[in-house]
């Protein structure tokens, strides 16, 4: 039996330590999903905490034949979709892309080419801004597909959709993202002359 299954069984019998192990293991994937869905570190933290509370309270209903990761991400996705629907709130400031939830990140100086890294970062930020314009369930499907490598069947299970609905939602979202990518031009980067120092 894997560690995870042991923790789940122990948590189902009331062990707080075992559930803490599960929290430690899944905090990053759950937080990331909430962050990509809600766009604000504070909201993501709150949603991730609420996800674990709901999982804790509903652990006796968890079917151990399903992967725990899929189950908890499904709770997180539903919670975020409900939150967004309830609040009609789709703020998605993706200027924060750091691993610690900070809102500013310097280009990685240790990368082979910091300028290329910086361009990639800008592209990611731009795409993430477009992501916020997608319908909430489409957004959840895209996040599960590309951040978690979920198959269409897994996404369907997590979001309570049919596989064909997932497929069509993913296609629609990808088309919409490509359309926005084409229509909205990237912000112009100031050109630096060869002899100029980066400080200017």
């Amino acid at each position: 039996m894997t560690d995870e299954k042991t923790w789940v069984l122990q948590a189902q019998q009331g062990s707080d330590e075992a559930f803490t192990q599960l929290v430690e293991t899944y905090q990053k994937p759950v937080y990331n999903l909430c962050y990509r869905m809600l766009g604000e570190p504070e909201l993501a933290e709150d949603a991730a905490q609420e996800t674990f509370l709901r999982a804790y309270q509903g652990l006796h209903r968890y079917d151990t034949s399903r992967p725990f990761g899929t189950w908890i991400l499904s709770i997180a996705a539903h919670y975020c979709i409900d939150t967004l629907r309830r609040k009609k709130f789709a703020l998605f400031s993706m200027d924060a892309e750091t691993d610690d939830g900070a809102t500013f990140e310097m280009p990685d100086a240790s990368a082979l080419d910091p300028e290329t890294e910086s361009v990639r970062r800008e592209q990611r930020d731009r795409l993430h801004l477009f992501l916020k314009k997608l319908e909430t369930t489409d957004r959840a499907a895209v996040i599960l597909r590309y951040w978690y490598d979920f198959s269409e069947v897994e996404i369907a299970n997590a979001l309570n959709l049919t596989v064909s609905a997932v497929k069509s939602r993913l296609h629609r979202a990808r088309r919409a993202l490509a359309g926005m990518w084409q229509e909205e031009p990237a912000p112009a980067r100031p050109e630096r002359r060869a002899y100029e120092t980066p400080a200017f």
């Binding site: 019998q13 929290v23 937080y31 990331n32 509370l53 750091t98 088309r175």
Partner: protein, 174 residues
């Protein structure tokens, strides 16, 4: 070649042969939409995982403790309100008798005797009626009907006990 198959390849993430990859590459150079489709997919695939600030599980433990305390308080409040309502209801029912206590002893002794006689005579009447009914029904019903009745009664008792157990069971931690 038309635009459609390339879009389908990109959207379905179809595994491509070398020749198909070359065709797609040529098409993407001339088609801005498919180029955007390809580029957005690459960016999505290279996206990073965001992590929570340090001490997430400690904050979770604190939140869990808060939630437990709130649940405990809510349960206590519910029990208190239930008891209060029950006490009020009992007082309301017993008010006439309680008032009688404040009357002269003669009046409430007479009242008690009256209730006592009523209780005893009612009990006797019910027992007599029950005995007669049992005698009549015993002659009237065949043995298998008794078996069915007793089994049904046992079944209902079992369901009732299980329901009580399930509703009163407090989840242990989870």
């Amino acid at each position: 070649m038309k635009h459609q198959p390339f879009e389908e390849w990109l959207l379905n993430e179809t595994p491509l042969s070398h020749a198909q990859k070359r065709e797609l590459d040529l098409h993407v150079r001339s088609c801005a939409y498919c180029s955007a489709l390809l580029q957005t997919e690459k960016i999505l695939r290279s996206a990073k995982m965001a992590a929570p600030a340090e001490g997430f599980s400690a904050r979770f433990q604190a939140r869990l403790a808060e939630r437990r305390l709130a649940d405990h308080r809510r349960r206590l409040r519910g029990v208190f309100l239930f008891l209060l309502a029950g006490t009020f209801f009992l007082f309301w029912l017993a008010a006439p008798s309680l008032l009688a206590l404040f009357a002269s002893p003669q009046a409430w002794i007479a009242e008690m005797v009256k209730w006592g006689i009523f209780f005893v005579t009612t009990l006797q009447a019910v027992m007599q009626a029950g005995t007669v009914l049992l005698r009549v029904v015993a002659d009237f019903l065949p043995p298998f009907a008794w078996l069915i009745l007793i089994s049904a009664f046992a079944g209902f008792s079992l369901i009732w006990s299980i329901s009580l157990w399930r509703f009163t069971r407090v989840s242990q931690g989870v």
